[in-house]
């Protein structure tokens, strides 16, 4: 399988701060790749760099073999990349419905089918369909954010800590949905919930101090207690 997304020695500055100092990884089509690392390691910044929100100043970001690191964000998104940001990015004054509408690229049967699927996955969204997004509970916002990324047919999804604030049973549902989607959609996942990460992840990369320091099949990490302790602080 070829690499669908490839980061090659990416460096990113935010203002004068040198945040990413050499990130390299490959994401294979149809796999779930998990980015791990401590708080402040640069995981979120990596996703934002891919999306062009914090453009890379050095290195390459390639999507389907094409350089995308100098494109504006909306063009990157149009290439079929969906994004669930860490802070959910809900449009607070828009209703749940309007939040979804802004995201929808088309309104055909396929989209409607996806919408059905999503509303079955997160019934809460249906209940509060006409409610301003800002008034949702923390977990409901997280659901809405995921839903917005699911509504379009994307080749690649970047998901930043989806399990954050979700009840265990919902986490389970999200995991299931990701597994279901894997066939058509490649996924890059940032996750602190190791249970979740290790269950659905195919490979992992560990980021530390703005650099990718370890990588491999998920099974490797599951087996290697030392590595877990060293980079993730867990046994």
């Amino acid at each position: 399988m070829s690499a669908q997304l490839k980061l090659n020695n990416v460096e990113t500055y935010i203002g004068q701060f040198h945040i990413l100092q050499g990130i390299s990884f490959e994401v294979r089509k149809g796999e779930v790749t998990v980015l791990l690392g401590r708080n402040g390691a640069g995981k979120t910044t990596t996703l934002r760099t891919i999306m062009g929100l914090n453009p890379a100043s050095k290195g390459q970001v390639q999507f389907n073999g094409e350089d995308i690191h100098s494109l504006p964000t909306y063009q990157i998104a149009q290439k079929g990349i969906g994004y669930v940001p860490e802070d959910q990015g809900i449009f607070a004054q828009l209703t749940v419905e309007e939040n979804m509408k802004v995201a929808m690229k088309s309104d055909n049967d396929q989209t409607q089918a996806r919408l059905h699927y999503i509303l079955d996955l997160f019934p809460d969204l249906k209940t509060f369909w006409k409610k301003p997004g800002g008034l949702l509970s923390g977990g409901q916002k997280q659901m809405l954010s995921i839903a917005r990324a699911y509504i379009n047919e994307n080749e690649l999804l970047l998901i930043d800590e989806p399990s954050k604030g979700l009840a265990p049973i919902v986490v389970e549902k999200v995991m299931e949905s990701i597994m279901e989607m894997k066939e058509n959609t490649t996924i890059v996942l940032v996750e602190q919930n190791f249970m979740m990460a290790s269950t659905i992840g195919d490979r992992f990369y560990i980021i530390d101090d703005g650099k990718t320091v370890q990588s491999g099949e998920m099974q490797v990490l599951k087996d290697d207690q030392d590595m877990r302790r060293k980079y993730l602080g867990i046994a």
Binding site: R38, G138, K164, A167, P168, I169, F194, G233, I234
Partner: protein
Amino acid sequence: MGLIETTDLTIAFGGHTAVDRVSFSVDENHFKSIIGPNGAGKTTFFNLLSGQLTPTAGKILYRGEDITKLSPTLRTRKGIGRSFQITNVFPNLTVLENVRLAVQSQAGIRYQMLVSYKKYKQVEAKAVEWLELVLLDNKKETLACNLAHGEKRKLEIAMLLALNTDVLLLDEPTAGMSLEEVPAILEVIRKIKETGDRTILLIEHKMDLIMDLSDSIMVLFNGSLLADGTPEEIMKNETVQSAYLGGVGG
């Protein structure tokens, strides 16, 4: 009599009753966790306790006194402090300044207007101490808005701890915090409780973490109180198992 008691506490937004006739009581120096599905009304319940919202019906007693109508400000001063689920800091102030403001309030320095704030050395020292405790002292001079998500969560906790209130309401303090730091932070919270006669209410979705921390767990469901008991009792509850934990939590 409990330290905080509510009777039939209710709040409705339009047609939606987010907290529905909840009566509960928590004793001094008790550690109670609150769980429940998303949208069950946990955060709203905290908002009622801390005064961000006023209930449509019901009463809140704190140390026997009716505080239902008090402002958040006064409740904090009386000793009910809280942290927020959605990080809620002063974005363009430094991390240190964020915590310093909390210490300053705790020290009762409110209306001094002609002395430099730097004269209050002990306030700043105390703030640094708190930052060290939550492992954030290396980011003292960073503006709060430039923190990574997990770091903001720590700042949020530091600000609450710095208030040094008798009651701590913690709303998912560890959401998004890195694996290695969650236990450390919870340990800090536990220590605080033990050394300082604190009463703690904690909202969490990470069952494994709260099982051994909590003296009791209460479950909210669709706004109402479903169960309240020891961790073991709660784990045995069927509804909790099927509607909240699913297959994972156990």
